[in-house]
């Protein structure tokens, strides 16, 4: 068969495929669209044939373009629905965290060891805390958690809308930090380690300073409610970042590029879950933590949060039926 007669014989089919593809691309499928997969595969066969017989460039290019367009349409991934989100929260996420339990302890240590050290320096050597917070930091801590009732955070939030403003701010800031912790992991884990240790030092210094110079109860009643979501969310984001970074550092038997892609696949549920946890923390922090309730109630809610997380991560999504 000569190139010319090949085009003549098959040309009408290609025009028809082109028409169907255009109609689907424009979201107005025309009659005959159910034939699209078959016509697509025929065009694939034509392309393979044309290439094997080395027909002229323009025939091959025309078919190549048709096949790419068809592939793009037929292999479009289906949109994830609510069902998938529920399944992810009930099964996928706790499983992903359990599977990386070593990283959980590593990231927890990277946060809590500096945190504890800075807390301890409130009693041992306050200069460490002073150096970390700086004058502005100390001043803002005093303005939020100072001894006087008027300076307490519940008082500062009395203006209409301030809760919503802080909610928006926490979403933007804290979830953004989670994403940065994750992204920093690809630079051989360095970014993740930096952010976790930095947050441990800074939050520890803030907590220590409150004990040194402010009213600890106003601080702890404020943070109790959202502490579990936010701190665990940050640790899980750290796990995602470390997983990614370990793909770079320790590719195992894969080539490095492939190892990074595999590690990213494993870290994806972790960072999604971490983002959701931190977003929920922002809701709690915005609308609950600053409300004026007795300290016992606030501590109880905080402890309940930690217990719920423990149960969630240890018990959810176990058993063969869950998947």
């Amino acid at each position: 068969m000569s190139p010319g007669s090949f085009e003549e014989r098959r040309g009408a089919e290609w025009v028809e495929l082109d028409r169907l593809l255009s109609s689907v691309e424009a979201r107005r499928p025309e009659p005959g669209v159910e034939d699209l997969p078959r016509r697509f595969r025929e065009a694939c066969a034509d392309l393979a044939l044309a290439r094997h017989r080395m027909y002229s460039g323009h025939v091959i290019e025309r078919l190549n373009a048709l096949v790419i367009r068809g592939y793009k349409l037929l292999y479009r991934s289906r949109r994830a629905g609510w069902e998938m989100l529920v399944k992810f929260l009930a099964v996928g996420f706790p499983r992903a965290v359990r599977a990386e339990w070593r990283l959980f302890w590593l990231c927890s240590a990277m946060f809590w060891v500096p945190f504890g050290a800075m807390m301890a320096s409130a009693w041992l050597d306050i200069d460490w805390i002073r150096a970390t917070l700086g004058p502005e930091g100390m001043q803002s801590m005093e303005s939020m958690y100072g001894g006087d009732q008027k300076q307490q955070i519940s008082h500062l939030r009395e203006r209409f809308g301030s809760n919503f403003m802080m909610f928006g701010h926490y979403i933007q800031n804290n979830v953004g930090i989670d994403f940065q912790i994750f992204a920093g992991g690809i630079v051989a884990c360095l970014g993740t380690i930096f952010f976790l240790v930095f947050n441990g030092i800074y939050i520890g210094a803030a907590a220590g300073y409150v004990h040194y110079a402010c009213n600890p109860e106003s601080f702890w009643t404020f943070v109790a409610g959202h502490s579990s979501y936010e701190l665990l969310g940050m640790v899980v984001a750290g796990m995602a970042g470390m997983r990614l970074g370990l793909g770079v550092l320790n590719p195992g038997r894969f080539p490095r590029g492939r190892a990074i892609a595999e590690a990213a696949k494993r870290s994806l549920p972790l960072i999604c879950g971490a983002g959701l946890m931190t977003a929920f923390a922002a809701v709690v922090e915005g609308f609950w933590s600053a409300r004026d309730f007795p300290a016992e109630v606030k501590y109880a809610v905080g402890i309940a949060g930690w217990v719920l997380h423990l149960v969630y991560f240890l018990a959810m999504g176990r058993g063969a039926g869950a998947a």
Binding site: G57, R76, G161
Partner: protein, 248 residues
Amino acid sequence: MEEVAGRIDTLQAIELAEGVEVRLRIAGPLLRGMALGIDVAIQLAGLMVAGFVLGLAGIAMGSLVTAGMMSLVWFFTWWWYPVFFEAGRWGATPGKKMLGLRVVQTSGAPVTFGQSMLRNFLRFADGLPCFGGLIVGIPTMGFGLATCLATRRFQRLGDLAAGTVVIYDKLQPEPSVPAPPPMASARPAAALRPEEVRAVTAFRERAGLWSEDRRAEIADHAHELTGATGQPGVSRMMAIAHWLQEKR
């Protein structure tokens, strides 16, 4: 996937599940940088419009509520704008769409939502080191550019992690300007593979477009086939192309 040592163009041959090979042209850092510039401009413009509208709404709703909304708008514009556009029908942010680019998996299939999240969240790491501070300040995209240039398919870190590439959405037909017909025709010394036959005939079909020096430069890459460099190599290459096309 076809791996030919020492390919000098950016065409990627990708084999589909249907057993056929398609060719995707990978986009380089310059065009992608321009697309990023357009996107950032759109994001900033969107934020300014949102700031203006929310500023007006603040008179009615209370300025603190709108300040909270502004934070949310900022968050979604910054982190999610590229994710939603790339995972959507376009497969490209508006900036890429304007320049005719599209994001696909390395297999050529459209990207999934998860991949889009990965590649766009990692843009933070690609943006390092930042101007005016290591991690805070204006991103220079230094890491992204470096990995783009170091990888065969112009992938930045986010692309490597997500397994994606940025391609030209529509392949421009290669301009065909044949050089004057060659005088001689010569049999290649060894049997050529289809890929090589295609390259040699493409050389002839497009040679009219290039200067003498450029022809020699390109033909030098095939000196093992022609056994000569410079002008003799070009003539020899044309002769082989002639033989392949006419005399077989």
